[in-house]
Subunit: 140 residues, 2 copies
DNA sequence: GCTGGCCTTGACGTCGGCGTCAAGGTCTAC
DNA sequence: GTAGACCTTGACGCCGACGTCAAGGCCAGC
């Protein structure tokens, strides 16, 4: 299988595959004419990479999984190094989610405060004077 | 006030200030010698920028707030455009948090599945045969 | 033999928010 | 007059994961 077909079957681009090879992540054999030659195993490696990328893993973080598959293990996460990456990622996600939630709370607070201030200004420009007049009328 | 002092007082760098000016975000008057000259108002603008940046706002997203202050409003979020940015940001944050939580759940699932598989392999190498032998013993 | 579709390497561009260096001007204090 | 602390502009570097273009090689079908 040549690079174009592999890219199509994995739903990615030839440029990405060349980039992975450059990183040593997905090395390719070469045909006699210099073309990259891939097998079905490479499709598995590539799918592993893409799956993890969809989870937000950086390419370097996918390396243990790829190497695990290359070593002949049944799954990319059958190796301790992969499990360690899972653990680190979970901690990272928890921290990130917590930070975002805190930020969300602060932005929401600023937002409602600003809206309140706006409403008070609007009230001050119309309602309050009218009320004063109204009370004046009642008292007169 | 010159650029160095403003940077120190706002807890940022001169490079950042020059960059903001380049974006037209924080324009500076010039002294006779060509040095940038800032006032206390500029410190307020800058603090507004930094606060929003800490919330994860991009520089372009801070622009409505800065322009609002420059227009003489009491707060950076006293203008409709700023409130709109708040709203967009809240929606963005919600979406981002939701996506991360979904990813977290999927990674956690993969992780526990992988750990289970590992434990079963470990068991398969020792415990399971022992159990079979144990039942054999009972039945024999 | 020629068109068209594949492939090759190399190299520069992208996005954001600056960091960092270079070469030089300005002002103050001694 | 000179050291040193500030300032100026300009330009390249960085991070990650590629996109995009250029110039050229390989191969199948007509």
């Amino acid at each position: 299988m040549r690079i174009g077909e592999l890219a199509r079957r994995a739903g990615t681009t030839t440029r990405a595959l060349r980039y992975y090879e450059q990183l040593g992540l997905l090395p390719a054999r070469r045909a006699g004419n210099g073309y990259r030659a891939y097998g079905e195993d490479d499709l598995r490696l590539l799918r592993q990479i893409r799956t993890l990328q969809d989870f937000g893993f950086g390419l370097e973080e996918t390396r243990p999984f790829v190497e695990c598959l290359q070593a002949g293990h049944p799954e990319g996460d059958s190796c301790p190094a992969s499990l360690e990456v899972y653990r680190r990622k979970l901690a990272e996600l928890d921290e990130c989610i917590a930070r975002l939630q805190e930020v969300r709370a602060q932005v929401a607070e600023q937002f409602s405060r600003a809206e309140l201030a706006r409403d008070e200004l609007a009230a001050g420009a119309g309602q309050a004077p009218l009320c004063e007049l109204a009370t004046d009328w009642k008292e007169t």
